[in-house]
């Protein structure tokens, strides 16, 4: 199942591969969601790796822990939320696709549309709405992480949840728009 996700991801990469200029606003939105995910991964994966390695070396050398060590959990949180949207663009999220192939292209399109209307939209709205409430209260309280220096402002981390889920919702929305265009005979099956 996971590797079929890999296959789909590769197929997705071919479609939006280098050398082909993005066409239309759907392509542009998807390209940006992917860029955000890639940028987050390129910055945060090395950051997490370095944070853990310095943690191991400072501990074995009996040095005091640094701010950077303590931020690993925050790096990971940002990483996890900022990549879910780009993975949805390339359709990397795992599906149980035993029956899916039998639905036909139109059936699959309908399943995606209904799933988005009944599942993705309510979830995204709830997370953005109540996530924004949390961001606002963290901002107004100027809440800070419970670590010395207080430097990592907590609201940035709180902001990761609604932003990440908004990117996910947007990516799924783009995909569903393509399915609708397909059902109306205006585009090939995505």
């Amino acid at each position: 199942m996971l590797s079929s996700a890999t296959a789909r991801r590769n197929a997705g990469r071919r479609r939006a591969g280098p050398g082909r200029a993005p066409r239309g606003w759907l392509d542009r939105i998807e390209t940006w969601i992917k860029r955000i995910g890639l940028a987050a991964a390129l910055i945060l994966l090395p950051a997490m790796m370095i944070a853990r390695l310095t943690e191991i070396s400072t501990r074995s050398l009996n040095l005091p822990g640094s701010l950077f060590n303590a931020m690993e959990a925050e790096f990971f949180l940002l990483f996890a939320f900022l990549i879910v949207g780009s993975a949805a663009v390339t359709d990397a999220h795992v599906r149980v696709d035993i029956l899916r192939d039998r639905f036909g292209a139109r059936g699959r399109a309908w399943v995606e549309i209904l799933g988005t209307v009944f599942f993705v939209v309510p979830f995204t709205v709830v997370v953005i709405w109540y996530g924004a409430v949390l961001v606002e209260s963290a901002w107004s309280d100027n809440e800070r992480a419970a670590f010395a220096f207080g430097a990592p402002v907590r609201w940035i981390v709180v902001l990761a949840t609604p932003v990440g889920i908004a990117l996910l919702g947007l990516a799924i929305g783009c995909r569903v728009t393509r399915h609708i265009a397909f059902l109306r005979g205006r585009a090939p099956a995505p």
Partner: protein, 460 residues
């Protein structure tokens, strides 16, 4: 609506949620979408029934971030995925097969032994079953067929090699099992070493006895010079084995905690890529992109499962499951076999990620209540024993025809001409070996608990 009716509906919600989950998973929607969609939907149902306060919705974004922050080992999962992807994409896995085969080529079934060893070293990549089966199939299957192995023998060996890694340390699945069964990561890592080693010995033994003489011994020209040999062995064998030894050794020696060891593996794999001379901006981008996509897939399911379990737990789903199993009034062995059977069947359809994150927590309270202290040797040992057994059961389930999904990946990545029938015929002896080893560890829990006890003492 009468209050009585509302109570009845609220009581039924956990079962309705599970029923909807079972049906909708097969809709082909992403698993994470089904989970968070049902979670949100049933929160709204609870609010409409007046059984849940509206501010409960505020908990959903908190559940998401808490799920990601839930464990220190999560960042290590991303690191280990990076390590596996790096070994695969940089061609190091391919070098490994070549160099190991040059050593084992004089053995009967030498090529199969080489493939099995690759499966062990690729264990962290094997965290994702499909990925490791496809990787090994792509690098080894055409060569095995050319070398004269029949399609059933070659595919059976690849399926075994591609799945055995998921139960060997530092495979990602073991982190999740340890977390769900509340056993120390170090003990979990060591628990599967003896049964996993036994499996590999039995696979190798079977093929050494049954593989046709002469197959796999076709000339594979070795490097002409001593220096060439040394270089190939260092690049293809010494360094990758040293990397795995470093990851495991750092845990055993206490330099790094299991959750820190992932970073050691990731950094080490990057050093290997540099040494192999294949480092390029394009490769780095590909590694980061693939790691991000795999991590996103895993962690969105974790987040979505937290959203699903919120109304499920709110309406007492946990105790409902335990009560339902208790109502069957069967003994601990029957309960264990029943749950193992359910996990085995689920493994046909869904990957270990969903099983360990969604299903096992439902059964955990029941399993924790089973009295196996005498059988396993101490009070805490039964959880370790059951967790390691679940790992074996899941691996077997991925291999068992007609549904075992490792077999479909194998078919998808095999050269044309290899039929699903070949794969089914080839897997029969492997499944027989798996079942024999599972039966053995059920009867002799010491096979699982001995090594962790030697290293970490009797669990208390």
């Amino acid at each position: 609506m009468s209050e009585e009716l509302i109570y009845q509906i609220a009581d039924a919600i956990p079962f309705v949620m599970l029923g909807c989950l079972a049906v909708l998973l097969f809709s082909g929607l992403p698993v994470s979408v089904v989970l968070f969609g049902l979670g949100t939907f049933f929160c709204l149902v609870g609010i409409l029934l007046g059984e849940m306060p509206v501010p409960a919705l505020r908990t959903i974004p908190l559940k998401l971030s808490d799920a990601v922050r839930g464990s220190l080992f999560y960042p290590a999962v991303a690191m280990l995925l990076f390590m596996g992807v790096a070994l695969e994409k940089s061609g190091i896995a391919h070098d490994m097969l070549r160099s190991v085969h040059l050593i084992t080529r004089r053995l009967r079934a030498g090529m199969i032994v080489a493939v099995l060893l690759i499966g062990v070293v690729l264990a962290p990549a094997a965290g994702i079953v499909g990925a490791s089966v496809v990787t090994i199939s792509l690098i080894a299957l055409p060569a095995m067929l050319r070398a004269g192995y029949s399609a059933p023998v070659a595919t059976g060996a690849v399926a075994a090699a591609g799945t055995v890694g998921i139960i060997l340390p530092p495979a990602v699945m073991l982190f999740f099992l340890a977390y769900q069964f509340q056993v120390p990561f170090g003990s979990m890592f060591m628990a599967t070493v003896v049964p996993g080693g036994l499996l590999i010995l039995l696979y190798a033994g079977w093929y050494m006895i049954t593989a046709p003489r002469g197959a796999g011994t076709v000339d594979q020209p070795g490097p002409g010079t001593l220096a060439g040999w040394a270089l190939l062995l260092i690049r293809g064998l010494v360094l990758p084995v040293a990397l795995i030894a470093l990851v495991l050794g750092s845990i055993i020696m206490g330099w790094a905690t299991p959750s820190q060891s992932g970073a050691v593996g990731a950094a080490g794999s990057l050093v290997l890529v540099v040494i192999s001379g294949r480092l390029s901006w394009r490769l780095i981008r590909e590694l980061v992109e693939t790691t991000a996509n795999l991590s996103a897939m895993v962690f969105l399911i974790i987040m979505a499962a937290a959203v699903f379990s919120y109304p499920f737990r709110y309406f007492d789903g946990d105790s409902a499951i335990a009560d339902a199993l208790a109502a069957l009034s069967i003994g601990p062995w029957e309960t264990l076999l029943l749950i193992t059977g359910i996990v085995f069947v689920l493994g046909f359809f869904i990957d270990w990620i969903e099983i360990t994150i969604i299903t096992l927590p439902l059964f955990f309270p029941v399993l924790a209540g089973l009295d196996f202290a005498d059988h396993a040797g101490s009070d805490k040992a039964p959880m370790l024993w059951i967790a390691a057994m679940m790992a074996l059961v899941l691996q077997t389930s991925f291999l068992t025809p007609p549904f075992g999904f490792a077999l479909f990946f194998l078919k998808g990545s095999a050269p044309p001409g290899v039929t699903l029938g070949d794969i089914y015929r080839g897997i029969v002896p492997i499944v027989a070996i798996q079942l024999a080893v599972i039966a053995l560890v059920m009867v002799m829990p010491g096979l699982i608990t001995w090594l962790p006890e030697q290293l970490y003492g009797v669990p208390r």
